[in-house]
Amino acid sequence: MVKSFRFVSSDRRVREDRRFVVGRGRFAADIAVPGMRHVALVTSPHPAARILAIGKSEALAMAGVHCVLDGRELAGATQPLLAGLDTPKVPRRPLAVDVARYAGEWVAAVVADTRALAEDAAELVRVDYEPLSFVLDGEAAYAPGSPIVHADHGSNVLLDRTFVWGEVEKDFAESAHRLSLRLNWGRSSTVPIETFAVLASWDAWREILDVYASVQMPRFPEQVALALKLPGSSVRVHNDVDVGGSYGVKRGIKHAVLVGYLSRRLGCPVRLVEDRLENMRGGDGHGPERNFDVEVAFDDAGLIRSMKMRALDNVGAYAGRSPFQLGKPIGAIVGPYRIHSVQYQAIAVTSNKTTQEAVRAFGQSPTNYAIERAIEEVAKHRGLDRLEVRRRNLIRSEEFPYRIPSGTTYDSGDYHAVIDKVVARADYRALVAERDRLRMQGLLAGIGMAACLEPSGANSTFEPLLNPTNETTTYTDSCRINVDLSGAIAATIHTLSAGQGHETLVGIVVGEVLEIDPDRVRVVRPDSLSSLPSQSPVGSRMAIMLGGAAFHAAQKLKARLLAIAAHDLKIPLERATYAGGEVFDRATPQNRRSWSKLVTIAHRFFHRLPPGTEPGLAFTHVMQVPMGGRLPTEDGRVQMYPCFAFEFHLLLIAIDPILGKADIHRYFVGHDCGTVINPKIVRGMTMGGIAHGIGAALCEEFAYDAQGQLIAQTFMDYLLPSAHEVPPVDIVHHVTPSPHTVFGQKGSGESGYLGAPAAIASAVNDALAPLGIVVTSLPIRMAQLADMIAAARAKRA
């Protein structure tokens, strides 16, 4: 049952937009303070090398150059950065110590009066290297005998764990058919247009480090303090900084620790704004690079009974939180399908490539791609229609709540209804006819589809699942609402935002609860020392968690107003009725207390407050993740995230057989993220996610040459989709409310990206089917496609 709302789901403007359209966003690189100095970086030209000596004298001799910091000095004064897994022999630090482990790794930092001077000086830092053997490929790094990236760790394996959920071998033995496939997901990332920027300013008398950073990182202030060996109360991260895009990657911990240390050492504010090369090569923001081996067991009708999946992720040179990107997909390991048992081997290995960080969907999009490829192969094997095989395997609406083999319960959904809507909107038969017409014109045309889930409301349960020393069972977010003596309302956000419209979200939620215009709610961001707990906007969680916290804080305010009014009107509480900011007596509606009267009583008239009531109107709520709070079971079952949005992509692609250029002619997506709080925001996120998915599927790759050099390190060779590459998309909405959230909302922060790569791969494979080619690696880049088509045609001729 869909509830009706005053403001929730209405097509309101996004309040943040006004400052951006006039150029008055406040991004980290916009913040300049007197006496500020600038950092440029000296980077390793080798994928692996011992650092023999760092010659600083020439650089230091330049006027305006203040410091050349090397890794040894920094390591002597700081703690290693926190890693997700318990891997103490794989220490990660801002600057390489004695050994550089990837080309582009930061080896020294130069501080000068201007960035230009710092860059000049960086060129004068002489580093002697002794090149070491290196490994780039993930499977090679996993194999015995590989060069080892961290010698003290003894191998390149950070994680190698096999889970068995259900009777996998029995199910395989009892199934009539099985097939296996090997797939690759290439290394790409979110690559925001704003690079990472951070300014740190140490006040030695107040003993406070002020940090302004373009960051999206859970527990960022604590991690900076820990690494710098400062008490948490000495690090003040400013949350009122706009982040110019992140989609996961703006972790920035090494950047912040570096400039924090430099600011303390030099006694001046220090800023680091990555240039594009520093960002792409050494910013530690690459995404998953994953090999999949998938095996499925199924019957004559194409019903999949069991699946075995091996996923090996090449996480690059150091371990951050990235190995957890193999953990999150455990919470949706069967996608939207009724697969009864699963074996899952998750392997994370180090290599001599740039360090991997969190990327939109935190590993789920590659896994969705693998599941969808398997479904398509099953259909092909049985000679069945791809759509029909999906429909047969999908969980049915009456089966919710539905518990999957890995222990997570899906909250709600009506997958068949969403698919039916999309098929109707697209006129599927007409789409097939259009494909066939394009084929008649000599193009390779194909229809692609993907059905997949967006786990949302991030709980960090993969932490205790993959790291037994970590007992995290909550992943909070919070809101505080103050009503001042004038009756003005201010609500708080305790993290930074990167375009997700959180100020709009909080305004709408508080307005909805209090039945007042959301624009009356001022939304502010206290700094980290005045903040309540927040885990930052990761894992499609803020509609659920920040929205939930704002809802509950507003409910507490409303409850207090009712109590004050009932006491002041001398009526029983149950007769007091709240409406639009006022409270009246249901029995005698003319007896009422206005908003301003109630506020005045709360702030000024203690004698009129119910006994024992705290004066003033200040309410906080720290939100626990719905369905959270439990540790994983011994056999590795866990409730990962609470809510599961569904999306179904359907598209028509045409490939020029000579150029290999793939053009998307039609694109439809059905999206069910429960109750939509702001339609403009959700639509934008879905569109942006699809655009990013087009990039990951067709153009973007952090390619390395055999010598270990990153060869895609500018926007001329790492290709982001432009307005030409992204087609108009017809979004079909469906609403299945979540039972676990205050308005029935689910997350949508990663929507579109969850299924677009799988759907595009499906379309390309349909287009190539007449040539007998199957593409198993993403991205499917134009030149590669042209070569494959030419080779297939030559073979046929």
């Binding site: 403007r13 996004v14 943040e16 937009d17 006004r18 400052r19 951006f20 359209v21 006039v22 150029g23 008055r24 966003g25 991004f27 690189a29 916009d30 300049a32 230009a116 979110t190 690559v191 925001p192 247009i193 704003e194 690079t195 706009d242 982040v243 110019g244 895009g245 992140s246 989609y247 704004v273 240039d275 594009r276 990167a498 375009g499 997700q500 419209g501 403009k680 925001i681 639509r683 934008g684 996120m685 569109m687 942006g688 996610g689 699809i690 655009a691 990013h692 500018t714 926007f715 001329m716 982001l720 432009s722 307005a723 030409h724 992204v726 108009p728 998309v729 579109g752």
Partner: protein
Amino acid sequence: MRVDLTVNGETYALDVEPRMSLLDCLRERLLLTGAHAGCEHGVCGACTVLLDGAPVRSCLMFAVQADGYDITTIEGLAPGPGELSPIQDAFCETHGMQCGYCTPAMVLTAHALLADNPAPTRAQIVDAVSANLCRCTGYAQIVEAIALAADRMRGLNWPERGW
């Protein structure tokens, strides 16, 4: 090196290093931070400003090269404090942005397009927008914003197009 820059109707006499880019000069010397650095090699367009009305990459130009031109930055578009130009308002109406980082450049690009062509087709809007990269939106709501602005600026209240 001495340079006279005319920015948003005001002239500034500055002494700059010859190698200082126009972008750095606007941001660091004039504190006009609405133009942003994205790639600093001319691809992303986040640094776009208007030179005599035409969009240019301020990261690929030296400040000294801009002497004598009429430079418009995003700070020069709003009619007054708290007010929005029709194009800025249309971007708010369609939510043609998310993080806001590429937005000033997109608004200026739209401004230049509509000054030249008050009734662009969708393809012409896409063509203009394709000069700038946006990583958040997938461009749809940006394209719609420009179409909406064009229609409103021609005196219509709402786009009549089918798309």
